[in-house]
Amino acid sequence: MTSTQAPKRITDIGPPHYEKFLHPLIKRNYGQWRYHETLAPGVLCHVAESGERIYTVRAGSPRLLSVSTIRLFADLADKYSGGFLRFTSRNNIEFLLDQPANIEPLKRELREAGFPVGGTNNSISNVVHTQGWIHCHSAATDASGIVKALMDELHPHFTREDLPAKLRVALACCVNMCGAVHCSDIAILGIHRKPPQIRHDALRKGCEIPTLIASCPTGAIRPAVVDGKRTVDVVEEQCMYCSNCYTVCAAMQMNDPENDGLSIWVGGKVSNARSEPKFSKLAIPFLPNNPPRWPEVVDAVVNIVNVYAKHARRFERLGEWAERVGWPRFFELTGIPFTRYHIDDFRYAGLSYARSTHLRLRS
């Protein structure tokens, strides 16, 4: 620190009040919005009861931003939106404009700086994702790299609203699933496939054995004695590789370059529109970790997007389409093999069995 006097220590003040950051036009019309329309992909116009209009220009970002890019956004906001901007729940950046004449020049500058404009309505918006190898101790894969490789292929669906309904893609680098990955149209999930490797020396130094045993949801961790010293062992058949033990005790090593990889889940949704919110279901149990561009993952997701885009009806989310045509048809159309891994065997598994003779058979 370069300041000359010790500053008074301030704590528990919470975030700055949002009102300080609202565009004056938004302040004037707060809670008084009448309707909105989409002027172009990535460009919204909200109309207030007063007749005033606020224009939103939305652009995709990599979520991981350097301070120099944040300053670039600040400069663009000063130039085009009176200095007012916000971020969305999917890590897009939004500029809030009162001058419609500024829309096209802003779009041009954003595109020239490498930030695509879009992500609204029936598009693939930004991919919600986690830290991956950039910053997480429990990551089974990287996050940002897969998202970059995937969006390089899918970006036409970001900049155009050309899908039957919105399609929300998310990625989590382990089953902790930071973010609502488990309720996404397409979820990419980093997974382990083998029980933890126990480092007995480190375990004795750094872990409480009762806490470690209690951390296992299936009771697979048992007390044991190795070389005359107290430690644990793992009933391998009972381990489902959740890594909860690793979070509690770093001596339970999960990372395994050969066996870690990715699984693909489909058909979840968060919104209550039409059908109820639902979890994503398993489509592909395992794909290899193949940096830097993960071609197997990218191809698999692009294939699912293409099949969905071709077959779903208007307003039908991926899961709604799969439920209408039936999951057998989903596997047939996508060419994804159905395996023993697609049948649940954890809690409430029986609720997912087909318990009727409603069968779409074809000879």
Binding site: M1, T11, D12, I13, G14, P15, P16, H17, Y18, K20, F21, Y30, G31, Y35, P62, R63, L64, L65, S66, V67, S68, I70, R71, F73, A74, A77, F84, L85, R86, T88, S89, G114, P116, G132, W133, C136, H137, A139, D142, S144, G145, K148, D152, N176, C178, G179, C183, T211, C242, N244, T247, V248, A250, P257, S271, N272, A273, N289, P292, F346
Partner: protein, 395 residues
């Protein structure tokens, strides 16, 4: 160490081409000024080579008087990447709705350039501004500059996590309550629970203004507050006709998709039987100029969502079907007090409130927090005949 030339990163360099903005380019931009960002790039390249992460468990790091807001990180090959030997993350509590001015962003950027890697997430999954990577001895200085600028840290660990909300009434005609005010008020009310972890495990509150649920409250918040209305959908017949003449197939794409089967289009007039409306938002989403939520607004309060760790993923389920707009905040605070008291008593270590409810039963939980059972709380009444009768109900 500063005289080291940048290590080559041939794998990561392949992620700089293509139309989508590149996080590798972002790290390289930060690396122009930050040796830590430079080493992060090298360490990540190593992960890309050997297909595994190189971050170790956090350990206890933080700022004075706080038990949360900082995620400790150390790498497992510090001898090679000494500038990220410690690389701790700060969660900086975002303003409600993620609104900023350019000056506020510059203030944050300047603080972080002085004290850390210059890398951020805008934003993390919790909704916080993420300051990605600094040394232990920079934490307190960063914190003091943040608070001097009017910012504070968010929650982490077994604490109340940073509440988050959708854009709400700031820019959305569908918001059935003021999500941003609710979120800000709640954040201010629970600073102690956020900064000094008091619970068995994390506790998240998220607020969405309507059932479209733009912050995924129902999928990931322990307490999900979702705007909803009680009276009739407001309808502008002339605008409906405009959608029809504009090419929207109202019978097929709106009425036939209504889960309440409560809409009828005869080719000229749309009729809605609002008694059967499930408030799903589909017709309103499809015709935003013609249909709007009613004026008797409020929120539904749901409980228990979480991701898979530990006992499996859960969606929130209905706790209170409708609270009028003016009573939401008071109701939520009263509920939180009762829920936390019960959870303190009965929750196990690392057991989210939803998992505890699965274990003890919703009925027992309702008894514990003093709520009457209501049919809106279940998808259907029990079909299991093994009923545990209460002692007072039998002779």
């Amino acid at each position: 160490m500063s005289e080291n030339r940048p290590k080559p990163t041939p794998l990561l360099d392949q992620l700089e081409s293509g139309p989508w903005p590149s996080f590798v380019t972002e790290i390289k931009r930060a690396a122009e000024k930050s040796p830590a960002a430079e080493d992060l790039l090298g360490l990540l390249e190593r992960s890309y080579e050997d297909k595994k992460g190189h971050w170790k468990h956090g350990g206890i790091v933080g700022v004075r008087g706080y038990g949360s807001g900082v995620i400790g990180r150390y790498n497992d090959i510090p001898e090679e990447f000494s500038n990220v030997a410690h690389f701790h993350t700060l969660r900086v509590n975002n303003p409600s709705g993620w609104f900023y001015t350019s000056d506020a962003l510059r203030t944050l950027a300047d603080i972080w350039e002085r004290h850390g890697s210059g890398l951020t997430n805008m934003h993390g999954s919790t909704g916080d501004i993420i300051f990605l990577g600094t040394r232990t001895d920079e934490l307190e200085a960063t914190f003091q500059e943040l608070t001097a600028a009017g910012f504070d840290l968010g929650g982490s660990g077994s604490a109340m996590r940073t509440p988050s909300c959708c854009v709400g009434q700031a820019r959305c005609e569908w918001a059935c309550f003021d999500t941003m005010k609710f979120c800000n008020d709640l954040t201010q009310a629970y600073q102690d629970e956020m900064h000094r972890p008091p619970f068995p495990y994390k506790f998240k509150v998220k607020a969405s203004g309507c059932p479209n649920d733009c912050v995924a409250a129902i999928a990931r918040a322990d307490l999900s507050v979702i705007g909803i209305w009680k009276d009739d959908i407001r309808q502008d017949d002339r605008a409906v006709a405009e959608y029809a003449s504009g090419g929207l197939d109202i019978a097929r794409d709106v009425c036939a998709r209504c889960p309440g089967q409560c809409m009828d289009w005869d080719g000229a007039k749309l009729t809605i039987d609002n008694r059967d409306c499930k408030r799903c938002m589909h017709c309103i989403n499809a015709m935003p100029k013609a249909l709007r939520p009613g004026v008797e607004r409020g929120a539904a309060i749901l409980i228990g969502a979480k991701a898979p760790i530990v006992q499996g993923a859960l969606l929130s389920s209905v706790l209170v079907p409708f609270v009028p707009e003016a009573e939401i905040e008071e109701t939520v605070r009263e509920l939180l007090a009762r829920i936390w008291e019960f959870w303190d008593e009965y929750g196990k270590n690392r057991e989210r409130v939803g998992e505890m409810i699965q274990r003890v039963g919703m009925a027992a939980f309702l008894d514990g927090i003093g709520l009457e059972p209501r049919p809106e709380m279940v998808a259907f009444p029990r079909d299991n005949p093994y009923v545990f009768f209460q002692k007072e109900d039998v002779k």
